[in-house]
């Protein structure tokens, strides 16, 4: 074999007979750059102008700190609620047959389709002290509107579809044979669910949780009407950005935005790690 060893080449792109890579790839990058990357770079540039200390100073301002606490804290609770009920709803929708199932399934997507402002005013009027639900809650001594409870309700509303839709396809794909196998090996139904069915679904539940959480933290439209927006009590971080902007305090707005962006990147990273782990462990996302 006198043939010279082939130089192992690392190409940018595998050659392909399919045409159109240059133009579609170029167009994609151009749009992405102009619409997404440049404006985001503007934010990063502004924030780096403030410096780490500048951002820290804004973050520790009592009003800002309180808003961040409300946004993150309530969103965490809401995402948890959405995950628990989301799992239950996904299970019911995939495993049980009952009249109206398809309609219930379609209803889950309502928060995706309903504009946030519409959801916002609807929730506000429902949970106001004289509203349909607010009145009943008031009898129980719960004030929903204009308190963090209202924020929580709005966040559950918008987070729920994420929790349902990330788990649902995986429940659909569960091979019934593994449950039958578990049953033939003598496990009762409860044992089968806990030991066999649920563990492979955990990554999806975590992903749904993270998505609901991220969405809750950033949410604006459906919250501001019900929240009452009392500083230090029920003021959320996105609203504070709007307030800072209307006061032409661009620095302050950028600092809060950067913190929020940082958190959503961490969340995004967490989702990717969960999915990478899930691929390794279970062979699917």
């Amino acid at each position: 074999m006198a043939e010279p060893p082939l130089r192992p080449r690392r190409r940018f792109r595998q050659p392909s007979v399919i045409p159109g890579f240059g133009i579609t790839f170029g167009y994609t990058l151009t749009c992405l750059g102009i619409i997404v990357l440049l404006p985001l770079a503007a934010l990063v540039a502004r924030a780096s102008g403030l410096g780490l200390w500048g951002i820290w100073a804004v973050a520790t301002d009592p009003r800002v700190a309180s808003a961040l606490r409300v946004s993150f804290g309530v969103s965490l609770l809401a995402a948890l609620t959405a995950s628990v009920f989301g799992f239950l709803i996904a299970w019911v929708l995939t495993r049980y047959r009952f009249p109206g199932r398809k309609i219930v399934d379609a209803v889950v997507d309502l928060p995706f389709a309903l504009p946030t402002a519409v959801a916002g005013i609807a929730l506000a009027s429902l949970y106001a002290p004289n509203g349909l639900v607010g009145e009943q809650l008031a009898k129980l001594g719960i004030e929903a509107a204009y308190t963090p409870v209202g924020i929580y309700i709005a966040m559950v509303f918008i987070g729920l579809p994420f929790a349902v839709r990330t788990v649902q396809p995986l429940i659909e794909e569960i091979d019934k044979e593994i449950e039958e196998a578990s049953a033939t090996l003598g496990a009762d139904r409860w044992h089968t669910l806990i030991k066999v069915v649920v563990p492979p679904l955990i990554p999806a539940v975590l992903t749904g949780f993270a998505l609901a959480f991220a969405r809750g933290v950033g949410e604006y439209g459906s919250i501001i009407f019900i929240a009452g927006n009392l500083p230090y009590v029920s003021e959320i971080a996105p609203l504070l950005i709007v307030i800072k902007l209307s006061e032409f305090d661009y620095g302050g707005a950028c600092a809060i935005a950067t913190i929020m962006l940082g958190i959503s990147f961490v969340t995004l990273l967490a989702i990717n790690l969960i999915q990478a782990w899930s691929r390794r462990r279970f062979g699917y996302v």
Binding site: G20, Y96, L114, A117, A183, Y220
Partner: protein, 293 residues
């Protein structure tokens, strides 16, 4: 297609070893339905109840206002620009990503997805930072008398940003799943790339495409946070429908506010209906993209 689907979902048999007891099932279904009714359906119903609280004439009066009409016009205009833009972008991006192997592909997909994980308010803010009076391009724009922020171009840009990933992320998994064999077959039969795209690729993705355009449109017409930041709330000029809802609500003009909101809710219902019909009818052709929105 539908029969193939039916076989993958065997009906839960009574007394089967792979389901729960009847009582447990009934309980779980009950919880799910009540939860959804309380949290999701009730707010939707409220919109219509409040809108018609003072009867038809009060309802219709909300739309006779010129501000309401200009808000409708602006919302339609915004969607008419943002949706086609993202449609073309989505098709181009998914062609490049799904049909070719190149390095850095995952990064590219993540970047396209980015607008989904950015708060709407921040989405508006970044455009203010670029085009606003104090923004990077602000002085230059001012000198040339071009207004983007607090004007229609800013609203359109912010809307394009928040709906940017819709079409692409629906089509990428769908096209990836379909692979390249059919396009290759068309090419070996002498078809040009464009001919192959039109006659083979496009028919294969049409329902997924329609589906994603529908969702993209719903979001474009309903976007509130991002648009609110860049709009400046100038009545009759830079108010979209969701912003108009807010203004009326804050003025305690509840009937008019809910009336306008009912228009958007109606849009959402139509979207959901068509979406569900597409899913039931063409689930195989859109399924790949449906995993996790």
């Amino acid at each position: 297609m539908s029969s193939a689907l039916a076989t993958t979902r065997p009906p839960a048999r009574a007394g089967s070893v792979v389901t729960e007891g009847l009582a447990v099932r009934a309980l779980l279904i009950g919880i799910a339905v009540v939860f959804l009714a309380l949290f999701l359906v009730l707010p939707l119903v409220t919109v219509f109840i409040q809108a018609f609280a003072k009867g038809w004439s009060a309802y219709l009066a909300a739309f006779s206002e010129t501000d309401a009409r200009s808000a409708i016009r602006l919302t339609l205009l915004t969607a008419a620009i943002a949706v086609p833009f993202n449609l073309v972008f989505g098709v181009m991006a998914s062609w490049a990503i799904a049909k070719f192997e190149f390095r850095g592909k995952n990064l590219l997909v993540t970047l396209i997805d980015l607008p989904f994980s950015v708060s709407p308010v921040v989405s508006g803010l970044i455009y203010v930072l670029v085009f606003g009076a104090q923004g990077f391009l602000g002085p230059w724009l001012l000198a040339h008398d071009i207004q983007i922020i607090f004007a229609v171009p800013g609203i359109v840009l912010a809307t394009i940003f928040v709906t940017f990933p819709f079409v692409a992320r629906q089509l990428i998994p769908l096209m990836q799943e379909q692979g390249t064999a059919e396009e290759e077959a068309a090419l070996t039969l002498g078809a040009s790339g464009w001919h192959a795209f039109r006659t083979v690729t496009l028919p294969n993705i049409r329902w997924g495409l329609l589906y994603s355009v529908l969702l993209c449109n719903a979001r474009a017409m309903g976007e509130f946070g991002a648009v609110s930041v860049v709009s400046g709330h100038i009545r009759g000029l830079t108010n979209t429908l969701p912003l108009h809802v807010e203004i009326l609500y804050n003025e305690y003009n509840f009937v008019a506010s809910f009336a306008v909101a009912s228009l958007l809710a109606g849009l959402a219902l139509v979207t959901l209906l068509v979406k569900s019909l597409l899913e039931w009818r063409f689930s195989a052709e859109i399924a790949a993209g449906a995993r996790g929105h």
